[in-house]
Symmetry: D2
Subunit: 405 residues, 4 copies
């Protein structure tokens, strides 16, 4: 057992931190303005400053870290990627897309990398890896509890050389962005098959007739206009070539499972960075702000929050790192319980820290003058993402109970 | 001791409930659309449907309940008003303004009623009581911890027959609304006086030269475009006649204190209504929504949330009612500790309930499709309103400690 | 609605407080010694000082308050009794037995008063009301989840003019006390009857052959040697006259239900007194104890605990009082939900307060030098008493869900 | 970074687990009886079964693991010792003394090993390492907040070739055990010296005249008669040779600091074992126990507790392991913050888990029939041990705040 990062990781962390200090943090005010302008003008354009950051990151060789073990990407392991993802989370709107490691593209690139045909890779994976286009992953549906995959209602029906798609999706992250050029869509090809063989995944280009991007879902009042928001989609007799299927018919559930593990841990890694930023902001504000004659950092209750934040966060990070290590050593399946554990632990810990950081900032902490409220809203969604926490707790408990029977 | 409401209250509750069922709830979708349009068009107009509701409420005699003991208003006590305010909280954007019992106007009308000159009453109180205009209360400042009144920096300087005002304010609720015609502004007339005699309050009409309404503050992404939001204001050599002073120089702190007690309890009363609405929504959704073959209302954890919500809420309501009764019987000063207690208890209880109601709704619970996220954002601000909870807890503890010395 | 106690109650509260100050608190050190001697000598004798307190209480007319509405007892209502029970809870080991208002005798006296024959009343109720003997209530069984009454296994079989009893019980409060002369035993007379008609209750005198008092159960290391502890009982062919049955065969469940409502609220009332004592001790200790150069009462975290304690406790008391009022006005059945609510709220609130009071006392707070740890242990049991909280929450949630269907 | 234990550790874990399964767990019922007999007979003898376990452990080479890096002890690092200490915590009363790794002897042996003279080592360290005698560490005093070392009042005054000791101590763990042959006593040799140079440590044999073992302190009703309890001591003109001083005059504080780091982490390691035992018991009980027709393991709330327990515990263990690794690599001082962090996190996490495990066991969970209540009492004391959590949080927050200044 050994808790130090290896030399590769330490080197990349140093370069990543330099990138943050020199480029990303200084770009935040500009980005904030550009995003506010998006709101005012009802635009979903990605803030132009992000393109500048991407260019700079690419130049610095900070790019596509996420693709675990992929030799072309430098072959980072999950464990090596983890602290880099965390650092990117400290500027959650800017740094992940800057280094081309933003959800949902990371998961989509993994899917294409693992299950895509050569043609699919050429058409979609290459421009995604190059950061030229973005993509979405369309799984959640409005009318059913999406934690239960068998509930999926969107239909994908074979018709000659094509598939015909009908149904609705919502909370499709990134899809409001006009440069989000392709959607990976989960639907049912055979509702009569065995429970986990009914689903398939298929590529649907943005401009396919019959596909409507209906509206952006709000998250506690935010539209997430930095990254293409969360769209509601309607598919009406949408036709795509049969070759757009990812894998074979009936493999949709398996592909989704393969995608979810890394997706979840990436969210957790970045969320730890979010929490670190919040702790820093809380400390800085507490030291600056004076009430009743002394800095609020001298108040016992504020100290208690800071200490608890640090104690909680250290524990959470270690579990996330161990999970990454397990994924590297025994595979995503072997790390199933730990992935669930961090999926459960992360939002509750980070939300708690953000709440306290906001409180230390006073009413301003809820406003557009600080990023804390938006960070809170983003983290709050993780308690539902890929099924509510309660479903994961139930499953984790079942596994625990089995140990002692 | 007796826990039943009196006949007057029961009658008004019945009429109020009928008004909600027949008029207010049915108006919610229209209001939602009008508010969304405000966002899209960067407008701060009050949703027109609210004027319709006001007309109907007035016709039904459901108007100006809040003015405790004021004979012209039917002379309701705080205790009689409490359940009516609670009912109005069930449709928090529509019902309080519909019955002309919305903050901050209620507090402003109380101030004018108690401390205003005849001229001030005629000019401002009358149209406010009639619901023709709205008003704001400008106390909080951006650069200082506003929980400490001595921190106030806005200056009010006598110059002949006028006062000259310079400084900044923010979080001035309602001030973005163009029909918010007058601001009660707290500032310092004598920074050298004794700690609580430095402040004065003065009336500033909206159109006074030098007064800029800079921008609306956001609350977790919401602008509160239903009621005029929360403005940042800049005062640059703003001149108003000396007769605009409320009371005498140096009485600002005392007036603010007189205003805060009722203001706080009104927020608490309405927040209990917010929580009742959330419990109802949580129960309805839990009964309708099916996951893994049964309604989620059958899940133990969901039941636990519902039970805890009910248990917490019953306790909170009783303490709020007792506080109202104390204000009626021993006065606002005598009820000081209880007012602090409900000020502390209300946001933590209601926030907890809203969080669970959101979780039961899945991701939709955070979106514009349900009012829960906006209710959450509104309640969250109460943990700062009139000073953060931590200040109130500290003060309440000091009082408790004194009992045993 | 009116939150002041009536004159009768205020007068009794004053007399009760005088009794506490003049007699009960001064007797605590002696009682503590006598109880410690019980532990050392493995004795279950009631501390002799309690007999002195009883004599004094009787002389002062502070006696048998609990019997709601019983004319011979002064006819106090539940609401009038509530604050008296609370005051007695401030010295939880001494004051309740001193005024003959201690569990489980209060519930047993109610049962005999409502359902007993004249003969049963003469033999058992009269000496109980006189404080000459004590009694126990034998319901809980070791091998089954006692929250589900149909689980009861003890058998009561008619044999001529007698009933024959076989089975086991545990946690039978008071039964180790040799002066606990009679047990009300719940068992099954007809396991084939309808679910809630299988049970009967029967009186079993302590000295009946076949009845063994096996051992005292410990509660977090405490034996509760102040009041006869919590016994395990074994019934082997125990024979009692058929006339010992309370009510008719099959009425056991109904009698138990009638008993539980008042029993639960009495526990809650007294527990609020426990919490008040804890708050007082916490404040006194915090003011006296100096660390790092200032009293710990000046520490923000300690202040936070004190404030939260007060805020939680005020809410809990009001709900308990309202529940008492409901029992008086609409009956125990009508108050069912509220009884459940206080049953759920009380232990969690009071346990929280005790935990903080202990923390303020340092390690001593857990020791025999302060009553806090024993108070904690006693309150902790309430989360199981008459079924675990989780059962009550489930039931309360079901009722809540029904409201909105 | 690497999360697998090394081969040495894995081998020792396997042997330790075998020892637990084959020897320790089967001895628990006997130990329980022997301890209960101690209570009944007011004896403080160590349960004889522990001597058997020690013999067996020694034979198996499972002995003195704790002495980090000490070549004679196999030279285990803290990180290697951690999982072994955890395993021993699963039978907290028996396994730590069985392998001679029980507090406070471990800390005392470290002190003697690091700071003792050859003579002191020969006289006390050797029999301690051999498990022939036990020892105590006398630091806490009854009248002062012991979190502040400058508060210490016991005086150690040089008089010729002797030191004369006067003062009181309490909570001196192990000291009721007649085989606890020596006390390491912290006192002041020079109250006028610089704050952290006033204290010295001195060895006082049990049979020294003037040293009274006054009484055993209780912990929530428990006396801890398995290990010599927690004594109150009175020192009246106690004289020991000057050669009994550990180190030099004025080094007491430094020695105490050196001792506390390892002592704290050992407590944490074992406490994680306590929690693992609780999770196992909770799961087993939940699977066996039926209520309302199904095992309570099927109840959502119970599942939630189990899942949360697992998630919390995994995080806590990793932080403890990382702290051990830091102590090994950068020293106890370098690991200061992490030692504080686990000192804070451990009791709150383990207490939470124990509370839920008790709840799943029903009232029995609080009784002598299960070890859970005693485990709870033991863990509860950790929130005060070496200063209350609040002091550590305050200090940890100060360190965190400094990072951002």
């Amino acid at each position: 057992m050994e808790f130090a990062f290896d030399a590769t990781t330490r080197d990349l962390m140093e370069r990543m931190n330099a990138f943050m200090d020199e480029v990303v943090y200084p770009a935040e005010p500009t980005a904030h303005e550009q995003i506010q302008r998006n709101y005012a003008e009802d635009s979903w354009e990605i803030p132009p400053v992000i393109e500048d950051l991407k260019a700079e990151a690419k130049k610095r060789g900070l790019w596509n870290f996420f693709l675990a073990g992929h030799p072309d990407q430098g072959g980072l392991t999950n464990l090596q990627y983890a602290p880099l993802a965390e650092i990117s989370g400290r500027s959650i709107q800017l740094a992940p897309p800057a280094i081309n490691c933003a959800a949902p593209d990371t998961g989509n690139m993994e899917v294409l990398s693992m299950f895509g045909t050569d043609e699919q890779k050429k058409q979609w994976l290459e421009p995604l890896l190059a950061g030229e286009i973005r993509s979405a992953f369309a799984m959640t549906e409005p009318d059913v509890a999406s934690s239960d995959a068998t509930n999926i209602e969107l239909s994908i029906v074979r018709d000659g050389d094509e598939y015909v798609i009908n149904g609705r999706k919502w909370w499709i992250t990134g899809a409001m962005n006009p440069n989000c050029k392709v959607f990976i869509v989960m639907g049912k090809t055979d509702p009569t098959a065995e429970r986990h063989r009914q689903q398939s995944m298929i590529l649907v280009p943005r401009d396919t007739p019959g596909l409507e991007v209906v509206r952006g879902m709000h998250v506690m009042g935010f539209h997430d206009r930095d990254h293409g928001g969360h769209a509601e989609l309607r598919f009406t007799d949408v036709r795509v070539p049969a070759s757009n299927l990812i894998g074979n018919e009936g493999e949709g559930f398996a592909v989704a499972q393969a995608r979810l593990g890394p997706g979840r841990i990436h969210h957790c890694m970045r969320s730890i960075g979010v929490a670190e930023r919040a702790v820093q902001m809380m400390c800085e504000r507490a030291s600056e702000r004076v009430a009743f004659g002394k800095p609020i950092a001298d108040q016992g209750v504020v100290r208690d929050w800071i200490a608890e934040s640090r104690v909680k966060l250290e524990q959470l990070r270690l579990l996330t790192l161990k999970t990454a290590w397990l994924m590297d050593t025994v595979g995503n399946k072997g790390a199933h319980t730990e992935i669930q554990a961090i999926k459960i632990a992360t939002p509750q810990t980070v939300e708690w820290i953000l709440d306290k950081a906001i409180q230390v900032h006073g009413a301003g902490g809820l406003s557009q003058d600080f990023p804390l409220a938006e960070m809170f809203a983003g983290i709050r969604t993780l308690r539902f993402a890929d099924g509510p926490d309660e479903v994961h707790k139930n499953s984790l408990a079942r596994a625990e109970l089995k140990k002692y029977r």
